[in-house]
């Protein structure tokens, strides 16, 4: 994947900290870099964000405002010993595609998120997806290998930054009491 477009973008997150001593919101702002790349095969662009889960090293995660909630595949090994991620036995599943194509299954985990410039003040919910099945209307489908990030374009999950639609797990920004955030994307080519 050739980085024709580079980190030209910043997501500005406006944090409204709730401080009892203040009459109004205490506004603190941080910027989280996103990486934009152009896919050589299709010519389309995609945005990724780098996230460390708990004490794990940072991994590329797709940045998607068209969905809500943080979904991470088994390749991220959130359940590894010493990861700093707490996984529950609460099941979670969601189906991608319209109509549905593949249904992912897993459990809900919790971890603080380490971005390059910002760490969430507490753990946020994560849908940790460890298996997949074909949707009923799509028998015989190709099941992606959840242990291989190449199966999902080199990313280890999807950071759903949208604020519409139902959320099996909450948008991680909203879960961190961040209710307003701005996204700047710039396409800059070296050609």
């Amino acid at each position: 994947m050739r980085p024709l477009a580079y980190v030209a973008l910043l997501m500005t997150v406006t944090i409204w900290a709730v401080c009892g001593a203040h009459a109004g919101p205490d506004q603190k702002q941080v910027a989280i870099p996103l990486t934009v790349t152009q896919l050589p095969r299709f010519g389309t662009y995609k945005a990724d964000v780098s996230i460390g889960f708990g004490s794990l090293k940072r991994l590329p995660i797709a940045f998607d405002t068209g969905s809500a909630g943080l979904h991470v595949f088994a390749a991220a090994k959130l359940d590894a010993p010493g990861s700093g991620v707490r996984c529950t036995q609460t099941p979670v599943e969601f189906t991608v595609g319209n109509p549905g194509r593949v249904t992912y299954h897993g459990v809900i985990c919790y971890a603080p998120l380490n971005f390059e410039t910002f760490t969430t003040p507490g753990p946020v919910p994560i849908a940790y997806l460890t298996s997949a099945t074909c949707a009923p209307n799509n028998p015989g489908c190709k099941i992606p290998n959840l242990n291989n990030p190449k199966a999902h374009g080199g990313v280890y999950g999807v950071f759903g930054a949208g604020i519409t639609g139902p959320m099996p797990v909450q948008n991680p920004l909203l879960a961190s009491s961040i209710s307003t955030y701005s996204i700047k994307l710039t396409r800059q080519s070296w050609c």
Partner: protein, 140 residues
């Protein structure tokens, strides 16, 4: 850069109250623009960085120039809030995979997806408290 919230002068797309469990908001409406002129094709809009190519699902998109199910190459397709005189952001239809904008009739709810292209050169602000997405041009 740091500390920017919603940009002044940005176009505001109000979201609608959510109707499904767990959804505070649902996508709002847009009216499509063709080469800078507003049309009467108004439908639900999804601002979606996770989608590489814009598309339109609408059974009534006759106002959009089309050829073989695609927006006519060279057309500037704009997205603006209902009632706006100008588009908040635009994409240009082409002939390559990356910029072919499909128009698909649907019996379901009409919906357009901006794709990531509509974000370039803009600041897109998500305001969960007030239920709106605003779009402002940026100089970089």
């Amino acid at each position: 850069m740091l500390g920017e919230g919603e940009q002044s002068g940005g176009a505001q797309f109000p979201l609608l109250p959510g109707t499904r469990a767990g959804a505070k908001w649902q996508n709002g409406q847009t009216c499509l623009f063709v080469n800078g002129k507003v049309t009467e094709t108004c439908l639900t809009i999804s601002f979606d960085t996770g989608n590489g190519v814009p598309w339109i699902h609408d059974a009534n998109a006759a106002a959009i120039p089309q050829e073989n199910g695609l927006v006519t190459p060279g057309t500037r397709l704009g997205f603006g809030p209902p009632g706006a005189a100008r588009a908040a952001t635009e994409v240009v239809a082409g002939t390559a995979f990356a910029n072919r904008i499909k128009v698909m009739p649907t019996n379901g709810a009409a919906l357009t997806n901006t794709g990531i292209e509509a974000f370039f050169g803009h600041v897109v602000t998500y305001d969960n408290s007030n239920g709106r997405i605003s779009v402002a041009r940026t100089s970089w």
